[in-house]
């Protein structure tokens, strides 16, 4: 009897469904391998015990002869091993809470205003004007990003006093907010780390904080400068290392980028891009290894993975601060920035993967790797599915291209990158603090639940790719007092490919 001809797509649908179920069952089996092993063993033991009967069991136990010395030695060994274990276990580092700076309305620079000012400032260079227009149209920024007061002028009037003013404004506001949220007292801060890449006055910004809040004279303060947009996670790494050495301590980390002194006033195209993207922002975090903070801490730090590609000349020169032919200082972004970022990401993932991926993904990756090496190099490299390892992703909002690239490389859905895209739209590229605005977005949307794992990825000059993995410690209820408070209901928004002016 002739088979009824099935339409092609129905066949395909079935195949896809079958593959999906196959993959799911494979994952479940491998990830719960131990359970699968234990169940038959426990079953066998239980059956055996049942067969022997309770009286026989008691008789068997009574027949053991207890030598007091042996018992004491075994107990001693046990206590010794557990003490060594607990002492050598790294201290858990908790993120108690954090606060993001929300700029006042006087700093707002709508899209059209920025374009108009650029036209007026660059009026002698129509080609540069056109270039900057094209960048802005496709940048993914919204109408509410902020620039410091000195940059509102035509032409901008950056000077040291204005830069210090901006630093005081953003850093002190963020820290005041952090104190209010956590109830932290200035005298209880043991470690202070401030990172700001492009503005590094003397005394340092961390000294500025110590002076303002009258912190203790034996405080361990650090100021990281020149380390780019990934410096926030470098500060976290440093805080974690310090908290291993100092028991029962609080660490405050302040991440920011001061825009005032870094507005490029020339007309070299490769150096105009940062002007279009960088905006005001800051974040202050409270990290602690105190046992009593565990209950109320929001997150637990699980891993920090740092990858530095600076040994490669191309990567080193990819984001380079230099003078243009007219002597004006700006940051030159090379054309192969995306390629280098992808390579740095690959390196980072290679180290991160074994730490976080479930066994099923690691096995598959291993098999594909072996297969490619031994059998057939033409096999497609297996990209592990990081969505199985994390519930939330915070990709540094460096620019639309960066987010697009990572979404493609990690095969993430639109919802996974929503926090990054919306942060870029609402706040622009706030450099090292953008990860915290994104985390705040996820919390404000009510998507963060206890046990959720978050992956923060940041790129920066050098070229560096740094990641941090956090685990949510408790359920976080909305509404939260954060920078998204008044506008979260308007998000997510659709960001057009090209914004019509």
């Amino acid at each position: 009897m002739p088979q009824p001809t099935m339409p092609d797509f129905s066949n395909n649908n079935n195949l896809i469904k079958r593959r999906k179920y196959l993959k799911l069952s494979y994952q479940y089996f491998v990830n719960h391998f131990i359970s699968f092993l234990l169940i038959p063993i426990i079953a066998t033991v239980a059956i055996q015990l049942a067969r022997i009967g309770p009286d026989d069991i008691i008789a068997t136990i009574k027949s053991f002869h207890y030598n007091p010395v042996q018992v004491l030695c075994s107990l001693f060994v046990l206590i010794f091993i557990s003490t060594v274990y607990f002492m050598s276990k790294p201290r858990s580092v908790y993120l108690v809470d954090y606060s993001c700076y929300k700029p006042p309305i006087t700093c707002r620079v709508p899209f059209s205003t920025f374009m108009e000012h650029s036209r007026l400032i660059l009026k002698d260079n129509p080609k540069s004007v056109e270039f900057q227009m094209r960048i802005l149209e496709r940048s993914g920024l919204g109408e509410e990003t902020s620039l410091p007061p000195a940059i509102h002028y035509i032409p901008p009037t950056p000077n040291m006093e204005a830069a210090r003013g901006e630093a005081e404004l953003v850093i002190f506001s963020a820290i005041d907010n952090l104190f209010a949220k956590t109830g932290l007292k200035p005298k209880d801060i043991d470690i202070l780390i401030v990172n700001c890449s492009l503005f590094s006055p003397t005394p340092s910004l961390s000294a500025m904080v110590v002076n303002k809040y009258k912190l203790r004279s034996n405080i361990k303060s650090y100021n990281l400068s020149g380390m780019g947009c990934s410096a926030g996670l470098i500060s976290i790494d440093l805080a974690r290392d310090l908290l291993q050495v100092l028991p029962n301590s609080n660490a405050v980390v302040v991440s920011t980028e001061i825009i005032t002194p870094n507005y490029y006033q020339g007309n070299e195209r490769a150096m105009l891009l940062p002007n279009c993207l960088f905006r005001m922002g800051a974040a202050a975090l409270l990290l602690s290894n105190k046992r009593r903070e565990q209950k109320r801490a929001k997150y637990k730090l699980v891993h920090v993975v740092r990858t530095h590609k600076g040994s490669d000349d191309r990567a080193y020169r990819c984001v380079y601060e230099q003078e243009d032919p007219q002597g004006l200082v700006g940051i030159n972004l090379s054309k192969d920035l995306m390629v280098i970022a992808a390579e740095a990401l690959k390196s980072n993932i290679t180290t991160m993967g074994p730490l976080v991926l479930p066994a099923s993904e690691q096995l598959l990756f291993l098999f594909t790797l072996i297969g490619r090496k031994i059998f057939n190099p033409k096999w497609k490299p297996y990209i592990p599915d990081f969505k199985l390892a994390f519930e939330h992703f915070c990709i540094h909002a460096g620019g639309r291209a960066v987010i697009d690239e990572l979404q493609k490389n990690l095969q993430l859905s639109a919802e996974h990158v929503e926090a990054s895209r919306m942060t870029l739209h609402r706040f622009g590229n706030t450099s090292s603090s953008s990860l915290w605005y994104e985390l705040s977005y996820i919390e404000s949307k009510g998507r963060m639940k206890k046990g959720d794992r978050v992956w923060q990825i940041a790129f920066g000059s050098g070229f560096k790719c740094n990641s941090a993995v956090w685990k949510c410690n408790r359920n976080i209820k909305t509404p939260i007092n954060g920078p998204w408070e008044d506008c979260i209901d308007r998000y997510p928004v659709h960001i057009p490919e090209v914004v019509k002016l």
């Binding site: 006042p104 709508p110 899209f111 059209s112 108009e116 036209r119 007061p149 509102h152 002028y153």
Partner: protein, 430 residues
């Protein structure tokens, strides 16, 4: 302090933009009525002089904050022009902002006001830009804050007439005063909506007498005058004005001629006597609509543009006859102008002020209602920029120190100004 003519007393100029603090709405646009487009070539330049206490203790950031909050309630003037497919301009409400110019003056406020009260002086503290040639990137409203040595401040406002008349401009500024006292209106100030009548371009449109066709100006909304214009202004106290009225109104049986019309009659006759070659037989009168009050909106329809014609030369009529003509024989051409702006499916470029000798009544304009933190301006000067060759006479309230009355500001071809001054003094002691 002696100021040489070449030395500019204004220095330390900084330019920035200030817009609404809150986002005003995605892709919001504002269509313009025919009357708005008819007035597009004119600009209102007003300066408010404030004493030291008004802005005392405020940094520029504090002042900008009040402006950001103010403009939340008046977001339309922050937009920029765009053109629809048919070429008709409209305003895109993209929050681009007003241009803010900060400046300092080497003199004190009293010295400044005493040195001279002429138009050239006031021009130094008001922005003088026009719309275009880059129409899409030209601000509609510009503010200049000039700080004097004593702490007094001059607030200069340049307002594109396309947004609305002087009454709308004054209402717009008064909102700022409210913002400085933390008072805000219930709704933002919007542009008045009017239903556009169906255009019947086939029927021949009678050319309105009150306008002069110019251009095409394209995207640069400015014209040039054939003769150089100069502005001469003088104060008239209420007492003197009452005397003027009685002098004009010799016959008590006829109706009483109000202050504005009396001034119109007096000036019209003097101009006719001074200008020998042409008979100034037609003038334009711009007065606020007495029937409808357009509160809480920007509009160009609140001011009616009317034309008065005489058959004989005004020199031969008595001032009272002129006054009665102005009151009773005016023809309201506002609607005709609105229809004529779109002739042959193409937008025309009109000059309204100055097409004929134009008298503008701003006596009711609430300019002295601008209250900054409880302080009113000690002096105000109004001017209209980019007017036609026939001249413009502005009448607005004037309160300087203890003086209370009106100011008459005449913009006229410069060659006639000396004679006009002499004639006004001779005939009316003005």
């Amino acid at each position: 302090m002696l100021m040489s003519k070449e030395e500019n007393p204004i220095y330390d100029i900084k330019i920035s933009s200030v817009g609404p603090g809150l986002i005003s709405g995605r892709d919001a646009v504002q269509e313009l009525s025919g009357m708005d487009l008819a007035m597009k070539l004119h600009y209102l330049r007003t300066v408010y002089y404030f004493p030291r206490q008004a802005f005392e203790g405020l940094t520029i950031i504090n002042i900008k904050e009040t402006i950001f909050l103010w403009l939340n309630y008046a977001y339309i003037p922050n937009g920029r022009f765009r053109k629809s497919d048919s070429g008709r301009p409209y305003i895109k409400c993209n929050d681009c902002g007003v241009r803010l110019i900060e400046a300092r003056c080497k003199m004190s406020l009293n010295e400044w006001l005493e040195s001279s009260d002429d138009a050239a002086t006031h021009k130094l503290v008001v922005p003088g830009q026009v719309l275009g040639p880059n129409l899409f990137y030209s601000p509609l409203v510009l503010l200049q804050l000039t700080k004097f040595v004593c702490g007094g401040t001059a607030v200069g406002v340049s307002w594109a007439h396309v947004l609305g008349d002087a009454f709308s401009a004054a209402t717009f500024m008064n909102l700022w005063g409210q913002a400085t006292r933390n008072k805000y209106p219930a709704q933002p100030l919007l542009m008045a909506h009017f239903k556009t009548q169906a255009q019947n371009s086939k029927s021949p449109i009678k050319d309105p007498l009150a306008v002069k066709r110019v251009g095409p100006v394209g995207d640069h909304w400015v014209t040039s005058n054939d003769t150089k214009m100069e502005t001469y202004s003088f104060d008239v106290s209420w007492a003197d004005l009452a005397r003027l009225q009685t002098k004009i109104c010799v016959d008590k049986d006829y109706q009483q001629i109000p202050p504005f019309e009396s001034i119109c009659a007096a000036v019209w006759q003097c101009v006719a006597k001074v200008k020998h070659e042409t008979d100034v037989k037609m003038v334009t009168i711009c007065k606020k609509d007495s029937k409808y009050s357009f509160e809480e909106v920007f509009t160009n329809k609140g001011q009616r543009v009317k034309v008065v014609k005489t058959n004989v030369s005004p020199k031969e009529l008595s001032p009272m006859e002129l006054g009665l003509l102005i009151m009773n024989q005016v023809v309201d051409e506002t609607n005709i102008i609105e229809e004529a702006i779109e002739f042959d499916n193409q937008l025309q470029d009109f000059l309204v002020y100055g097409a004929n000798l134009t008298f503008v009544d701003l006596l009711d304009a609430p300019v002295y209602d601008l209250n900054i933190r409880g302080h009113k301006p000690i002096y105000i000067n109004c001017a209209i920029d980019n007017v036609g060759d026939e001249g413009v006479v502005l009448v607005f309230p004037s309160q300087k120190y203890h003086f209370n009355g009106v100011k008459v500001s005449i913009t006229f071809p410069e060659t006639y100004i000396p004679n006009l001054k002499w004639m006004l003094k001779k005939e009316w002691s003005l």
